[in-house]
Amino acid sequence: MRKLWTLGIGVVAAACCVAGAVGCDSSPEKEAQTGVPTEIVNGGFESADLSGWTVEYGTAFSDDSVSSQKTFEYADDEKHNQIPVNATGNWYLSGKGFEGKFSVARTGAIRSSTFRLTGDGVLSMKLAGGAPVEERGGKLVKKPTETVCYVGVYRASDDRLIARQTNEYFVKHTESYVIVSKYESDVYNTDNFYRYELDLSEYLGEDLYLRVVDNDQSNYYGYISVDDIRTNGDAEAQTEGAFFTKTRSYVQDAEAPENELPNGGFETGSLAGWTIVSGEAFSHEGVNAESVWWNENITYSRDGDYHYGFYNPTAVGVMRSSEFVLGGSGYISYKLGGCKDNAKTYLRFLLKTEEGDREILRASNYKFRDFQFPYVANGMRLLNMVQYYADFSAYLGQTLYIEAVDENASADDLGCMTLDSIQTYWQGTPSWSDFRAAYEVKFDAETEIVSPCQVLNGNFETGDLTGWTASWTDENDRIGYVSSESVWWGTFSYNKGGNYLFTGISDEGKTGTLTSSEFEVGGCGWMTFRLGGGGDPAKCYVSVLDAETGEELARYANAYFFDPGFTDLVNRGTNLANMVHYRADLSAFVGRTVRLQIVDNATGGWGLVCADSFRTYYQTEAALPDGTYLARNILPRETLGEGSEYQALNGNFETGDLTGWTATGDAFIGISHEEVWWNEWYSFNKEGEYFLSGWAGNESATGTLTSSEFTVGGCGWITFRLGGGKDTSLCNVSIVDAETGETLAIYGNTLFRDLIKPGCYYYGGKPIDLSKDGSYLANMALYRADLSAFAGRRVKIVLTDRATEDWGLLFADEFITYYATEAEIPVGATVAIDLK
């Protein structure tokens, strides 16, 4: 059954007519002697349907086309003036359908009964719509004659068209206001009827018939309305049919075989089989019979005669499918379009369990793409639907149902949902005979897991800060907000997980903290999270705090923040607000109850934090997702060498500054936390968080950096990392007797070698260790130096940079000046050559 309309009251006068039979209002004397009537049946459509007419092809005309609407509105008229249609009697053929909702793209033709032309041979009719012109950029241009709507008069003997009437006096007003009287006086003719007469007297006595033809898909009045056809000048109007307003009734019941969803394709023309849970977004009326939308006649790409959607954009609501037992291969497929805001309009797949119903998948129109409008063929995906499928086989044999959710109250058409062809039973893997593009929806790791070890709302998928405590009370002081945006600066992907993230993109100037709920460190002790922004790790980071004492247990910064100044390289190595996915080892704290705290103490230089996807519970390390970067704990440690006779103070620079070192000149001014250099992501090969970076100053600067005194002890070996310093006579590391100032030994970066082949290294998402290819530039090499000859002497380390160009700078890290035995010296260290 398709959609129906019902008679409101009474019986229509002409309802006794039978298609193709003699019209019952034809009086016998009007009838020609051969028995051929002189008038067509139902020429005024007063039967309230197409009785007497034959649908030849197409969907432009049906019983639903016969309307009793007395007035219409001019679309842009704010006053909603009602303009009389100027129909004769109570009923007429409306090209817009009785509800005024037929798509202009519909085409079709109907044919009248045959009549014999008598009397004066003048045939008359009323026409509306069917503009013979189209509006292009405000100019009226003639439509191709092939497509203009018309009423044709045909000679029955040879089917030859003998006359053709279009709505040639179609005139649309152009003012913004409407003067109804100008329509009533035929100054303007659009959806109001205008009477035409055709002098066919040369065909007197011949048998004729009419056809109403609409081959016009134009959005500019590409339909035709017809009324009061009189086939000779003496005829009177058809007897008025009783007036009533047509209403639609909807099929209420739908059935389906086992494992299948009743009416998953809306082919009942109704929401039979579905339950409206809430709101106004879902209603029988929203079942859409049109195959195209908007003035461009863009195809919905639906299956069958109906789909759901493009209905009531501002409304919100939920509808629920019948329950079904998942069978077959466990695949479910559906077509989904619209849902511009994926977070607000989506499908939910729910599993019935004893503990209650559980959402197992949330899926929106992820392929929505406002691209090269209006060319669907070029990949534009707006309200046109996309074929999706998902593998639910983990739930085979269980009972599921589906909810369509629309929480988007925006008036934007594209926020609507279009939905069709929900197929819950597949024998095997879905495939489509028309080879349509189909996308598999994967179950998302963003689904919140329920565990005492999982921080609450760590993925922000509630869409707000539920579970988190902000340091600010006034929104103007916030360091960020929960957003469903996918991109920042309108262009670059955040690399978020799920629908929501926490972003500080518009709050760089603010400082504050955001503290999570308590959770127990459990499972394998690893957590993962996404972090973006935070140009200065000393000021922007994520802390792990003991829930009871508030003690900071660990601190993680966005170590792969990387700003070479080219935003067009985002996702090719440049990391700004786009988040990096990290993993962090909290196994040392298993069993402790902790909180996470997002800290933003910076007001500039990317002093903001974007964060998402805090997942704090993994049963095993094997469950960790692929492709994460190891986050280093940057919690300031005890200063190396503090209170030690044998270790140079802060020899590893992990204080984050030059504590323990004395600088002269300008060469040694900076400590860096960077992991990589250049667009290729060459690794510095640093140890710990901080190292001494020559790039913190100018390459042309010179100077020295002198360590604290220490006693050469243990086995007498020291180790250090050194990069840059191409000319070892100008850039080097010397060991100086602390008392006499005598230079005991000089070491340089003797491994320095530039073997980089231009164009042979590319950013591949992983740091590149140049030393593997024998290249040593800014990447530091590990050296070991034998000072045992000076055992027991007080010495200092002096870094010297007298070079001004050509790698005339030094990178250094991890001066370890005490090893009890040689066995403790790290493997792979190169023996430093004494250049003295």
Binding site: D159, Q372, A437, Y763
Partner: protein, 833 residues
């Protein structure tokens, strides 16, 4: 008259169950046949042969114009032959080649006030042509002309024809007696488009008195009107003949006529009255025997290669389209024991236009069968053309074609990538393909290469990942390719540029690249796998388009190619090898032998052998243009620095007779020349090994092929494969006495003193492979029939030949080979003094 007798087999409209729009109603009236005396022109094309067709109303014969007619013999490269006939809707139909076949009738007198024109047509191609330009008809679309009387562009006559994507209709130049004005009016079928390779009946009825015009498709009216512009009009008279299959004043592409029917025509009629719908329906039903629409076998409408029999230049064992035009081959794949390859094709003429995918299938990459064009311009996804692409076996285990979809110019690029699938994966020929209804990859505004340079996708599968490269350029920085990856051929991730070549250092690399192809290559023992990257630079500075390559590594994670040496190298020095494409595939035998990974497959390269140096007039009279090079299998040389390219081993299946064989300790040129003095042929495979012991710094030695022993006042013909002190090259200065300015090949600089050479001769094709690591692909065009000898030459080189084997090869297409025709040029020995 034929039609009046056939009409007695009355068929009612009710039987037309296939008619899309049964407008006429299903009454039981008899079909109204048109009256015989209203017929003013009728061609039924029922002749089985001959160069004329009968016009049965006047009873006169009309000449069929055809390139291979006898009067063109002086210009032909084969014996003249008659126009082809095929089984028609009724009796026979005329086969039209799309560029030379038509019928002209000077006697036809044009009806003025009313007429009906009808025809059966089965097209091979829909042309997409520029609009008329003159003031009379400006803006009206040019059509392929089924029936034409008068130059519409000059406001005369009428034309029944068809065009872009099968649009069909009528164009009328009318004089309006009421307004005293002339105008051109066009009417097109708003509902139906013609179908390729199928019969369509088209009819148009015009009545200038009432202003009635109606179009009928397969007997059903699809458009009709009574309009004021046509009322009280008559057709503007023209002095032009009536043309069937040609337009009076066609637009030309590369000097060749367009707007000509390519396909079959049958039952062309004109009545001097405006027939009624029932009468035109009767015309249709004449051909629809028992109400069934006439079927057409693809073989009957397909291009027929037999018309080239005896062509002196057309290759006999190289892959080549059945007829007309190709440019580059592409998208090879191996599937269920068969090899498929596609090529850029114009089935309307030997010139570049209307590009689509021709399709060849083979069991061995040597013996090819012609298959229906695989992907043609299609409404929606690829209306403007279907350019080069790639192919691989998709996630469903069937081959997927990645096409360059020429789309609407309103889009950012006009070039997108879409997929096509076999309609029936179990069909061994995979003859029918279905294009998806939307593109899979479209170039965004601002990103992923230079806008408008986004074509020639190359796809492959390796270890769980599908890779796609799309030829483009880095804005302002020269050619490159975008790389995308996917695990399902649906969701593609952009991975940046494959390779960045320094355009300033290598300006021969052009500002864009086309046909970017990358294949794994290994040493012959299977070790040392590297990758070879090929490109065809576009718009290079002062350099013709060639195939260049780099050897290097492919970083699968980063999707970057890392060249061993950034300097691009020419792959082939013959000058006509480009548009390369290739694949690396595993056959069932390979898998059975334990090979599993992508890089263990065979890497085979195809390319176009350009034949355009003789020009389009030559192409017109030969009727075809271009062919494939011999497929070569690639290996990495042992030093890792060169590409070994070998004609595929399956070539041996062509061997028919060993004409000469010597393997020994060494013979000199003079000794061998005595031995081979009677060895002749234009389909040869030659194996040659020799050493050089030059006595002086300057020397020159080698083998002359297509050698003519006669030298007279006209000169002589020979093509020298030269091994000299500078290196190796092909000397074409004496190749042809007809085409005298052929360029010789580039020089391969080498100081080698030992050479191992393979030479393939296939009519005009000459391919020379030297020491495995260099090749020369070129053409030879001898004028004379006796230019088919071989001869060694040795000028101070001390040539000592240790192996010389000459084999005659057979055709890849026919059992026997028709000897090359030189009837209009003869032998050089018979000429001159």
């Amino acid at each position: 008259m034929k039609q009046s007798t056939k009409i007695t087999a009355v068929v009612t409209a009710c039987a037309m169950s296939f008619a899309a729009l049964a407008l006429g109603g299903c009454n039981d009236e008899e079909i109204q046949a048109p009256a015989g005396n209203d017929l003013v022109l009728s061609y039924s094309f029922d002749e089985a042969s001959g160069t004329t067709v009968k016009e049965s109303v006047a009873g006169t014969d009309s000449k069929i114009a055809y390139v291979f007619n006898t009067e063109n013999q002086a210009n032909l490269l084969k014996p003249a032959s008659e126009p082809l006939r095929r089984k028609g809707v009724s009796g026979n139909a005329l086969y039209l080649d799309g560029n030379s076949t038509y019928v002209a009738n000077d006697d036809f007198r044009q009806p003025k006030n009313a007429f009906t024109v009808s025809a059966w047509v089965a097209p091979r191609v829909f042309e997409n042509l520029p609009n008329y330009e003159s003031v009379y008809a400006a803006g009206n679309t040019r059509l392929t002309s089924i029936v034409n009387k008068g130059d519409i562009d000059m406001g005369e006559g009428f034309l029944l024809g068809y065009g872009r994507l099968g649009l069909w209709g009528i164009q009328l130049a009318v004089y309006n007696k009421d307004t005293d004005e002339e105008s051109v009016l066009s009417f097109y079928d708003p509902i139906n488009a013609l179908s390729l390779y199928e019969w369509s009946h088209v009819a148009v009825s015009y009545d200038g008195k009432t202003g009635y015009i109606a179009l009928f498709y397969n007997g059903v009216r699809s458009y009709e009107a009574v309009i004021p512009e046509l009322a009280n009009t008559e057709i503007v008279l023209s002095d032009e003949p009536l043309y069937i299959g040609r337009y009076a004043n066609p637009t030309k592409i590369y000097g060749l006529d367009t707007q000509m029917v390519a396909g079959l025509l049958d039952e062309v009629r004109i009545y001097d009255v405006s027939l009624s719908p029932k009468q035109t329906e009767a015309l249709y039903l004449e051909g629809a025997e028992n109400g069934a629409h006439p079927a057409l076998n693809w073989e009957d409408v397909a291009l027929d290669s037999s018309v080239y029999e005896g062509d002196r230049y057309r290759p006999q064992y190289h892959a080549i389209p059945p007829a007309l035009w190709m440019n580059e081959p592409h998208s090879p794949f191996y599937y269920q024991g068969r090899y498929h390859v596609f090529y850029q094709h114009n089935p309307a003429g030997p010139y570049w236009a209307q590009i689509r995918w021709g399709h060849l299938v083979s069991d061995d990459m040597i013996h090819w069968e012609y298959v229906k064009d695989a992907v043609v311009p299609t409404a929606g996804v690829c209306p403007e053309g279907v350019w080069t692409g790639g192919a691989c076996i998709g996630p469903d285990g069937t081959p997927w074609l990645a096409i360059t979809a020429g789309t609407n110019t309103s889009t950012v690029s006009g070039q997108n990538v879409a997929f096509a699938h076999p309609a029936d994966p179990s069909d061994p020929d995979l003859a029918d393909w279905v294009v998806e209804d939307s593109v899979s990859l479209a170039q965004p505004a601002g990103g992923e290469g230079e806008i408008g340079q986004f074509r020639d996708p190359f796809v492959w599968y390796d270890d769980g990942v599908y890779y796609m490269m799309i030829s483009t350029s880095i804005p302002g920085a020269g050619g490159s390719a975008n790389v995308y990856t996917s695990t399902d051929m649906r969701d593609w991730t952009y991975k940046g540029y494959l390779f960045e070549c320094d355009y300033n250092a290598y300006p021969e690399q052009g500002i864009h690249w086309e046909c970017v192809v990358m294949l794994p290559i290994s040493k012959k023992d299977g070790t040392g796998t590297k990758y070879v990257l090929f490109d065809c630079p576009q718009y290079p500075a002062d350099a013709p388009v060639h195939t260049y390559y780099w050897i290097g590594q492919f970083d699968k994670n980063a999707c970057r190619f890392v060249a061993d040496d950034p300097k691009p190298r020419l792959f082939d020095l013959g000058g006509i090898f480009n548009g390369q494409n290739g694949y690396c595939f595993l056959t069932e035998e390979d898998i059975a032998a334990g090979k599993t990974s992508y890089d263990q497959g065979r890497s085979v390269v195809y390319a176009i052998s350009q034949g355009k140096e003789l020009g389009t007039t030559h192409n017109y009279y030969s009727g075809w243009a271009h062919n494939f090079t011999m497929p070569v299998e690639l290996y990495l040389s042992d030093d890792g620095n060169n590409i070994i390219r070998e004609p595929i081993r399956e070539l041996s299946s062509l061997r028919e007779e060993t004409l000469y064989e010597y393997v020994g300790t060494g013979r000199n040129a003079a000794e061998l020349n005595v031995a081979i003095s009677s060895v002749r042929g234009d389909l040869l495979e030659i194996e040659l090994e020799f050493t050089l012991s030059p006595a002086a710094e300057t020397f020159r030695s080698g083998l002359s092929v297509r050698y003519n022993p006669t030298t007279n006042s006209l000169g002589t013909e020979r093509t020298d494969v030269v091994f000299g002190n500078g290196g190796v090259m092909i000397d074409r200065t004496q190749t042809s006495l007809q085409y005298r300015s052929l360029d010789s090949s580039a020089l391969w600089e080498t100081s080698a003193r030992a050479y191992s050479v393979r030479i393939l001769l296939d009519r005009s094709m000459l391919e020379v492979y030297v020491n495995g690591i260099m090749s020369f692909t070129t053409h030879v065009y001898p004028k004379y029939g006796d230019s088919d000898y071989l001869r060694f030459f040795d000028e101070g080189a001390g040539m000592s030949v240790t192996k010389f084997i000459v084999r005659r090869l057979g055709s890849a297409y026919t059992e026997t080979v028709t000897p090359a025709y030189y009837g209009n040029t003869g032998n050089l020995s018979d000429t001159g003094v």
